[in-house]
């Protein structure tokens, strides 16, 4: 690079033909070290994404989404945006390939895992046959809180589906296929378990009656709006089609002011929603689901918080991952 610049300095008047140094790329299997592919005459400004497409042509069973290309067999995966000439490689670059397995798009996974609970809960709500004793088939609960709970639960998952379609901007396109089985088992299983008891003919309404249900509903709605506000704020951080990451800050919307204290307020509000739902239904399986969800979201929030701290030197020090000052 320096050499070329020096050349152009010496001949300022003439238009210098920049000598393009083509790269050669060889791709080896990360485990067996077999040579899988050799690409010559690769442009120096080619991205890893483009190399993946070229690799896909010679090995059509490995579409780009399931390729993990790395500099070291045990190292981190390179990003699609990484440019060949900016990597620490010579003009013959050696990359290692790992098959990530069959991939499925995030949107597909989200839509499937959220539609399940929506439908399943309604099956229990309408007391479809073979769930409860036959004399209760297609009857409705005599408790109004059960109807309210159904509306809240359904609203929650419809909101999630709409957010998946219109709000979220995903930084990864795909995830491993086996995740959809794992995730759907979790969501669908818990939805069925909760719905069974809430819509059961022998359901017992909350001890403190209307008072309890009213407070629970307020908490639930507050956190639903909060969660939605955060999703909108995060979406607006990222221009369409980009994968840039920026520090989120509070906006004019009061529900986003929680960004002052928390890195992942979407998880905070989500926890709040489910606490509200637990209080509303007074159902132990719901409490259990809330607990498990809280544990998982805390793990995610801590990871996100850590990567924020690593990436941004000026990250606000007052923020906690998920619970203000606590966690």
């Amino acid at each position: 690079d320096k050499h070329l610049r020096a050349q152009s300095k010496r001949k300022p008047a003439k238009k210098t033909k920049k000598a393009v140094v083509f790269f050669e790329v060889e791709i080896l299997d990360a485990k067996t070290k077999d040579k899988l592919c050799f690409l010559d005459k690769v442009e120096p400004n080619a991205t890893i994404g483009e190399i993946k497409s070229m690799f896909h042509k010679s090995h059509p069973q490995w579409y780009p989404a399931r390729q993990s290309i790395r500099l070291d067999p045990k190292g981190k995966s390179l990003k699609d945006e990484d440019v060949l000439q900016h990597l620490p490689v010579g003009t013959t670059a050696t990359f290692y390939f790992r098959d990530l397995g069959a991939q499925i798009s995030w949107v597909t996974v989200f839509l499937t895992e959220y539609t399940g609970p929506l439908v399943i809960y309604l099956l229990f709500y309408f007391r479809v046959p073979f769930i409860y004793p036959p004399k209760y088939d297609f009857t409705t609960s005599k408790h109004w809180v059960v109807h309210l709970a159904c509306m809240c639960h359904s609203f929650h998952y419809v909101k999630r589906l709409l957010e998946t379609l219109f709000v979220h901007r995903f930084s990864h396109g795909t995830m491993p296929l086996r995740n959809i089985f794992k995730n759907c088992t979790y969501y669908w299983g818990f939805a069925a378990w909760m719905a069974y008891y809430i819509n059961h003919p022998l359901y017992t309404p909350p001890i403190y009656g209307e008072q309890q249900i009213r407070i629970a509903l307020i908490i639930f709605l507050f956190c639903q709006i909060g969660n939605f506000s955060i999703h909108i704020a995060l979406r607006n951080l990222r221009p369409p089609g980009s994968k840039t990451r920026k520090i989120p800050y509070p906006t004019k919307n009061p529900f986003t002011w929680i960004f002052l204290l928390v890195s992942c307020p979407n998880y905070t509000y989500e926890l709040g929603s489910w606490l509200g739902f637990t209080l509303m239904t007074q159902c132990l399986p719901v409490a259990f689901f809330t607990l498990v969800g809280f544990i998982q979201m805390t793990v995610w929030a801590k990871g996100k918080h850590r990567s924020y701290l690593k990436e941004f030197r000026d990250y606000p020090p007052l923020r906690s991952p998920i619970l203000p000052f606590i966690l």
Partner: protein
């Protein structure tokens, strides 16, 4: 730049010292723990043998060793802690599953369902557990003392091939024998309606536990087989990617 490099090496030396004291402490504790557990299971083995020789029957054998068994098997929970803090390099989940299944058998089956305590299947898995644990803990003890006799290594990585399935048979037969008593007594179960809006049927829970042996047992068994190939024959196994 230079000063931060210096700080770096001083910090490194401090960290190395900390690591050294931590690992000596860890080694001392682990050695004590493994010796104690070997001794405990040896005591159990001797008590069981003595009972059988003196009484000629296995009826009442469980009751005579119940307290010792509960103590040493429950104490094994600390092994999960060892993995969690990293002084033992095994997966927390694998250890957790193994210890939990033992705790479950001891506390939630044999301890709480008195009618099955004189079943033969109980003796079956007790014998298997005793032999397995004595071998395992003495293996760890000798390894920590850097003086591992080959026969202990051989025993640890070969006896399980027979003992593991036999133990599973003993455990499953015991749970199966317990089913009618659980159903009749309705123990550990909760029915609707109640203010927590939940129900639990221990009977069906046990059936699910029995079924869960089907996917779990082969995984643990093949894990041990892979360990065996690695430890005895030094084969390089290409691990399955997660």
């Amino acid at each position: 730049m230079a000063s931060s490099e210096e700080d770096g090496t001083v910090e490194e030396k401090e960290n190395n010292n900390k690591k050294r004291t931590k690992s000596t402490l860890a080694t001392a504790w682990l050695t004590f723990y493994n010796i104690a557990m070997t001794a405990g299971w040896l005591v159990l083995a001797m008590a069981m043998t003595r009972f059988y020789i003196q009484k000629g029957t296995h009826k009442g054998l469980y009751r005579s060793i119940a307290r010792t068994l509960k103590f040493f098997q429950t104490f094994a929970l600390v092994e999960v802690g060892h993995c969690a803090i990293g002084i033992v390099r095994t997966s927390v989940i694998v250890t957790g599953v193994q210890v939990c299944s033992r705790i479950f058998m001891v506390w939630f089956i044999t301890n709480s369902i008195r009618q099955i305590q004189s079943e033969e299947s109980v003796i079956l898995f007790l014998v298997v557990w005793t032999v397995t644990e004595i071998t395992r803990y003495s293996y760890y003890t000798f390894k920590l003392l850097n003086h591992l006799p080959y026969f202990i290594k051989w025993a640890r990585y070969n006896l399980f091939i027979v003992l593991y399935p036999v133990g599973v048979v003993g455990e499953l037969l015991t749970i199966y024998a317990a089913l009618p008593f659980v159903r009749r007594s309705g123990m550990y179960s909760m029915r609707l309606p109640n203010k927590y809006n939940v129900s639990f049927d221990y009977y069906y829970c046990l059936i699910i536990v029995m079924l869960s042996y089907i996917p779990l047992f082969p995984q643990l068994y093949f894990h041990m087989l892979r360990q065996r190939r690695r430890m005895l024959h030094g084969e390089v196994i290409v691990e399955k990617d997660d």
